[in-house]
Symmetry: C2
Subunit: 258 residues, 2 copies
């Protein structure tokens, strides 16, 4: 059905994956039977991507939108002299390419940061769903707008915070986002990013990221076990970061009476 890019392997159907997508959408809007049936009727494939595989290719017309079932992915752009900036992170439960749903070509690329599996839907089918099923359309709007809100907060992070606050802020954000997916256990989570990638997110070099990590550890704000991060006191880390979770719009995820 869909062409298969390198690094991706199609594994076919999986009712469990459909259930996860419905659950995700129902976190922000109320669906009726027709809405759920429309999702169930979506043409789709579950795909596995190996670490580092391209999920969205820049300057190409996007054909597929992927809902992340497992693993992490990133959006990134490059300057003309080859420097990289990671402009977005996607974790399980996020859409990888909703940003391209109505655009003719992608202004960025997306790749998997770990081995990932995703629910891939042809763009055309998703576009139709947005207009045919208003409740689903609203959920996708909300998802895209929250992603934009995160971009705005990252702009503040890069523009107005020093290196320590930037990294602390990133760690706080990930803690709050992973919490919702149940990926936090005893204030710990795995951060599947190299220090170079953390630098590409925060506008720093990997050398400086390393120094800041050590400083965060020495101040007792985090504990590291390999790539596991423990945040013994999220409030303290948040204070160091100037973190305020409003921009994550977590309240959108509760049931809304309208």
């Amino acid at each position: 059905m869909l062409d298969e890019p390198p690094g991706a392997e199609t594994v076919g159907k999986d009712p469990e994956a459909v259930r996860k997508l419905i659950e995700k959408i129902e976190a922000s809007v109320r669906l009726d039977h027709a809405d759920r049936d429309a999702i169930i009727a979506l043409p789709y494939e579950v795909r596995h991507y190996s670490r580092g595989a391209a999920m969205v290719v820049e300057a190409e017309p996007p054909h597929v939108c992927a809902f992340l079932l497992d693993g992490w992915a990133s959006q990134q752009k490059h300057t003309d002299d080859g420097k990289r900036e990671i402009v977005g992170l996607m974790i399980p439960g996020d859409f990888v390419d909703l940003q391209n749903i109505f655009l003719r070509k992608s202004d960025h690329e997306a790749q998997s940061l770990t081995d990932t599996s995703a629910f891939a839907v042809p763009l055309r089918a998703l576009q139709d769903l947005v207009f045919d099923r208003p409740a689903i359309g609203r959920a996708l709007w909300i998802d895209a707008l929250v992603a934009a809100s995160i971009y705005r907060e990252w702009l503040v992070n890069l523009g107005r915070r020093d290196a320590l606050a930037r990294i602390a802020h990133l760690l706080c954000e990930l803690a709050r986002r992973l919490e919702r997916t149940g990926l936090i256990v005893e204030a710990q989570y795995e951060l599947p990013l190299t220090q170079e990638q953390v630098g590409d997110i925060t506008g720093l070099t990997s050398v400086h990221v390393n120094r800041v990590f050590k400083k965060l550890v020495s101040q007792g704000l985090i504990v590291r076990y390999g790539r596991m991060i423990e945040i013994p006191n999220l409030g303290a880390l948040g204070a160091a970061a100037g973190f305020d979770a409003t921009y994550l719009h977590l309240d959108q995820m509760l049931d809304r009476a309208d």
Copy 2:
């Protein structure tokens, strides 16, 4: 009909304003008669805002979405220690608060940078329009997604470019955006921003912005007459900035055959 915030003055109806909104939407999608009638039937007010007036208030439930008819506006956020970051710029033809259309409270504030006039529509009416008229819904999706694309490019700007390239990039972007609105005359446009505001966009101090401006002038990349900026050679400035206009998705603005 709508409550009037301080600094804003409602001036009532204006058929010319409705025409401009329709024109803007028709730049990206094809509308039929019913679509146009739905826009004409929108409840709205034309409002004037004086320079510095709040157009969107942070943490408050947004009630109105404004389409900018004249003047410039900005989106901004603050760190907990009071530093400001301007995360978005709106020029005539942009929506001021589309980012909040489906969110319960705003994560940022918006204010006018000059005296402005805007076409203000109650959010509820705009939400209904998105679902009742798919063509209009698509146009608003595109607008929101292009705004998000600009956020991504600004992230690259802050994370990976030095001061000179950052400011050069901003000037290139504005040149291309203003061009579409006919606000460029003989490679010149008015930049209604103080150097402090340019610093708030680019993550720099006003002192350093001043020095970079002088450097851009001494290199012949720009000429300044007060707040008029002349770009004698957009290609040269673009090269200094590493500017690539793809992210503005200007091709979305042509007619699309689908």
